[in-house]
């Protein structure tokens, strides 16, 4: 776990939404999925996941159903709601804008000013 980056505040929700947008997942699965899609570069504090999930369900962005996991365990599966999908799109856009802006700012060379 040597080279993992800390999450910026507020990005966990975005990552969860993104992970779930690829198909319904249970909590553990979400952790694995985030690891997978980020190339294991992001460190998710496991304890922070559930408060985040709870928050997203309460906000109506995710819905949760009990189901059976791949190895026959009972698990709560999360999937995006319409509102969640919309929010994901918005958040993705604004993140991209922010990332571009910061990237541009950091790339500026002294002589360009």
């Amino acid at each position: 776990m040597g080279d993992q980056a800390q999450l910026l505040p507020g990005t966990l929700d975005l990552l969860i939404l993104r992970a779930v947008s690829l198909g319904p997942l249970h909590g553990y699965g979400i952790l694995l999925r985030i690891g997978q899609i980020s190339g294991n570069a992001l460190l998710i504090e496991q304890g922070a996941l559930y408060p985040g999930l709870f928050r997203l369900v309460r906000q109506g962005l995710l819905k949760a159903n009990w189901g059976t996991s791949e190895n026959n365990r009972r698990a709560k599966f999360y999937e995006l709601t319409a509102a969640g999908r919309r929010r994901l799109r918005e958040e993705t856009d604004s993140w991209n804008r922010l990332a571009t802006a910061i990237g541009t700012a950091l790339a500026v060379q002294p002589e360009e000013i």
């Binding site: 496991q46 559930y50 698990a75 709560k76």
Partner: protein, 890 residues
């Protein structure tokens, strides 16, 4: 997996909790499964999962916090949690809720009264349109004024009746009681004399029959009336109104036209009318008698200001054409300079409002202060409770509960207490305000006030509840959650856990209590003493054993020129009745609020003096000694030179304190009272005039036989001296019944009437006394509680002191020193506050300075003694502490 189960079992068992538990458990299992699949041993996998996941309880607290931030459900859960806490300590809960209920209830009760007499609109449609017309600044005592709300003479009303463009309708009304029944058994009921437009403009719909209409105004002989709903129900049996429905008024039958709806009590808040009857406009109405109140409804589009401007413009012509004859040029000029103004009247008129407004506001301040003390008490109790729960708080915080979360939980707890207190307080306020109204009632007049818990009252109680909750709940909650988990857990249940700072807050609360209760105590003593001063005041005349007799003989049809002789004979008839010691006729009943003045001129000095026309025996009957000169005799008749007896104030004001006897006094002309020159033949001491509270004013007495014939009327008043009042009344009734069967008689007790004038002071004295005692009681409880708590907290220290050889006296001294310090600061603060508050109450005190040293010193001593007594018990308890037990607890 037993270890998991046990770990999860820590949590609470609600459905939500269980779901979170399940989900987290599954998460752990999936994690373990995955690692096992990778070839790890199960034990190693479990260890790793737990390491990666962290403390599940922390996770749960964090989920909980999310939940708390979002949900109403968690609010209910916190409420349930708080209720469980209250159920576990019923003593605390009962004391807290009862204290709050008393405090909030008292405040709400006073507010409810203020609401009823001041804020609430009349129960008519669109009350905000109702407008009253008045002379701006009043009529300065000109003419005859018939009651508190009489602003219009009949000619003035006739003018306004013709010209009132800003009003869609105008009406005149006044209260004038009616004697109902046969002549032998008359009963006074509340009458309302109204112009024909009255009910129509107010929009009152008849409950039965019809109401008074303009055509009913024709006859000046009272022959028809409208009954109020309550009168109709109570006195007429609620029988259907037919054209033949009549009741007896002064021995004659009059027709009842209809009944007003139940909610309508008239326009006087605090009074209820029984019968309403049409006004009558005599052919030559008197122009100096102010008897009516005139109101109307503002037309749409007119503002009060515009209406006022309209009537202001109308005034010059109006007062020019209605000016009474017979006044001096100056007085006539003053009359003609009067201006009419329009005033909002949606709340009706009320003598209660005028009389007791400042009393009620004062009471609101007093009850507010009591509530403050109650809050301080409660805050202290909560502080003690929260430090008992410090360990619990510390553990929960260590487990990751946020401070906001705990704060919210504590505040919900105090909010629940406040709600309970407010609800109970509202319920308590009803009987309390009724009791206060009853205490203001007099022998003559019942107060009819609709006291309902309307939205304003509920809003007030809710606001007070929230405020108290903030006062007593926030501080302990802030303190309770500001714990450093580590040191708190280390310190254990007691010992050094209570820092000086925490004690500081509690001391501050006790100091506040002492200061505020000193203010209340001083106030209570001042008001009680002020009331006592009034009760024991010598008005300069005999008070007890005097019966007032009012006689009406309109039906006897005595000719005006023989009225004087007729009245003289009546006095002799009453004198002959058994049980009567002495009797005198008078034109003015002293100490009953009325007044009678004439303008006088002595040499160059001009001014006013009170005038009373009395028969010769008046001074003997009332026990007023003649200081110099002579009293009146039977020789002072119309044909004899006019003579005057004046009081010392008159002598001081008009004769510069010099020789009065033989001096001449010119009385200014007035309608029916021609100008006259009197000679002073005697002087008396200063006596009170119409009010015990009044300062001495110039007074003059004239023999009743010299009363102007033009002003004679078919009625008179007598003062009867009789030890056995009821016996004399029976005797007088019997003596007059034989000779004058048509006579209408009324009897009043002089002293009772005077006492009735003091009901406001009595109420303030009683209530401030009650709240003063309550405040001291609360201080005792508060002080006792806090000291006991301090001692529990300092058990170790005291134990060590005793073990090291401190004797009992020293330990008691330790505790008392604490009390003394708080007491000293509290009393100094309280004295300052009391002096400050006293200044505001100056006008409500009689015969006392607000900074009455004796009262202040007495209050301070009383409070000090009570405080020391309250701390002795905990102090003795501390001194009997067994050091071994105290130290073993550690």
């Amino acid at each position: 997996m037993g270890i998991f189960r046990r770990m999860w079992a820590l949590g609470r068992r609600s459905k939500l909790d269980r779901e979170i538990d399940d989900e987290l458990r599954e998460h752990m299992r999936l994690h373990v499964d995955a690692d096992v699949a990778k070839g790890m041993s199960p034990d190693e996998a479990i260890r790793r999962a737990r390491l990666r996941f962290g403390n599940p309880t922390v996770v749960k607290e964090r989920v909980d916090a999310e939940d708390a931030a979002l949900g109403f459900e968690s609010f209910l859960r916190d409420a349930r949690y708080a209720v469980r806490g209250f159920v576990k300590s019923p003593g605390f809960t009962i004391v807290a809720v009862l204290t709050l209920a008393l405090g909030i209830g008292a405040n709400t009760a006073v507010f409810q009264l203020l609401d009823a007499v001041r804020l609430r609109s009349l129960p008519i449609s669109r009350p905000q349109d109702l407008t009253e017309l008045r002379i701006v600044g009043g009529n300065k005592g000109l003419g005859v004024n018939d009651g508190m709300f009489a602003n219009f003479t009949i000619p003035m009303w006739q003018e306004v009746r013709r010209h009132h463009d800003p009003l869609s309708g105008a009406f005149a009304w006044r209260t004038a009681d009616v004697m109902v029944g046969k002549l032998s058994e008359l009963k006074r009921v509340h009458g309302l004399e109204v112009s024909g437009e009255f009910f129509n403009v107010l929009g009152i719909v008849p409950w039965q029959g019809r109401l008074i209409e303009p055509q009913d105004e024709a006859a000046c002989q009272l022959n028809k009336a409208v009954a109020s709903y309550s009168y109709w129900k109570a006195e007429m049996g609620g029988q259907a109104i037919t054209p033949n429905t009549t009741i007896m008024v002064e021995g004659r039958p009059i027709q009842i036209l209809g009944v007003t709806p139940p909610g309508f009590f008239g326009l006087t808040v605090g009074d209820r009318f029984d019968l309403a009857y049409p006004t009558c406009i005599p052919p030559n109405p008197r122009r100096e008698v102010f008897s009516f109140s005139v109101m109307g409804r503002l037309k749409p589009g007119w503002s009060i200001e515009r209406a006022s401007a309209y009537f202001d413009a109308l005034s010059a012509g109006l007062f020019e054409s209605t000016a009474p004859d017979g006044y001096s040029a100056e007085t006539t000029k003053m009359y003609k300079s009067f201006r009419l103004g329009a005033y909002q009247a949606g709340e009706g008129v009320s003598w209660l409002r005028e009389e007791y407004d400042s009393s009620l506001k004062l009471l609101l301040v007093i009850t507010g202060l009591v509530l403050l003390i109650a809050c301080a008490n409660l805050a202290n109790l909560m502080l003690a409770r929260s430090s008992a729960r410090q360990r619990e708080m510390a553990i929960r915080m260590a487990l990751g509960a946020s401070r906001g979360r705990l704060l919210r939980q504590l505040l919900i707890g105090s909010g629940l207490l406040a709600m309970g207190g407010a609800a109970l307080g509202v319920a308590l306020a009803q009987p309390l305000s009724r009791l206060m109204v009853r205490s203001l009632e007099t022998t003559g007049d019942a107060i009819h006030l609709v006291i309902v818990t309307d939205w304003r009252v509920l809003l007030f109680a809710a606001a007070v509840g929230v405020l108290t909750c903030m006062v007593f709940g926030t501080l302990p909650a802030l303190r309770g959650t500001r714990v450093d988990p580590l040191s708190s857990l280390k310190a254990g249940e007691r010992g050094v856990a209570g820092s000086r700072e925490r004690f500081g807050v509690q001391r501050l609360l006790v100091v506040t209590q002492i200061a505020v209760s000193l203010v209340l105590l001083v106030g209570a003593l001042l008001f009680v003493r002020s009331y006592r001063n009034l009760m024991t005041l010598d008005p300069g005349m005999r008070e007890s054993g005097i019966t007032i007799v009012l006689l009406g003989f309109e039906s006897e049809h005595v000719k005006p020129e023989s009225l004087a002789a007729y009245k003289r004979q009546l006095v002799e008839d009453v004198r002959a009745a058994p049980g009567v010691e002495n009797v005198a006729a008078t034109t003015m009943l002293p100490l009953r609020g009325g007044s009678w003045s004439h303008g006088v001129r002595v040499g160059r000095a001009e001014g006013q003096s009170r005038f009373t026309y009395v028969s010769p025996s008046y001074f003997a009957t009332m026990g007023i000694p003649i200081v110099s000169g002579r009293g009146f005799t039977a020789m002072d008749t119309t044909n004899a030179p006019p003579v005057l007896i004046v009081n010392q104030m008159f002598v001081r004001k008009y004769f510069g304190g010099g020789q009065a006897l033989g001096r001449q006094v010119q009385v200014m002309p007035e309608p029916q009272y021609p100008a006259r020159i009197y000679e002073v033949v005697g002087t008396i001491q200063d006596t009170k005039y119409n009010d015990l509270r009044g300062d001495p004013e110039p007074m003059a007495f004239v023999p009743i036989d010299q009363f102007p014939e033009t002003a004679q009327g078919p009625g008179m008043a007598m003062m009867v001296a009789a030890k056995d009042g009821p016996g004399a009344i029976a005797g007088i009734r019997h003596a007059l019944a034989a000779k004058h069967p048509q006579m209408i008689l009324q009897f009043l007790d002089f002293q009772l009437g005077i006492r009735d004038g003091l009901v406001g002071e009595r109420m303030i004295a009683m209530l401030s006394g009650f709240f003063g005692v309550l405040a001291v009681l609360l201080v005792v409880i508060g002080l006792y509680g806090v000291l006991s708590y301090f001692i529990t907290q300092r058990r170790n220290e005291i134990g060590i002191r005793i073990a090291l050889g401190a004797d009992r006296g020293r330990v008691v001294g330790l505790v008392l020193r604490d009390t003394a310090a708080m007491l000293a600061i509290g009393l100094v603060l309280g004295t300052g506050l009391a002096l400050f508050a006293g200044r505001a109450a100056t006008t409500m005190l009689f015969g006392l300075k607000p900074y009455d040293a004796a009262t202040l010193v007495f209050s301070i001593l009383l409070l000090a003694v009570i405080a020391v007594l309250a701390s002795l018990l905990p102090a003795f308890k501390a001194s009997r502490l067994n050091p071994v037990d105290a130290l073993r607890c550690e």
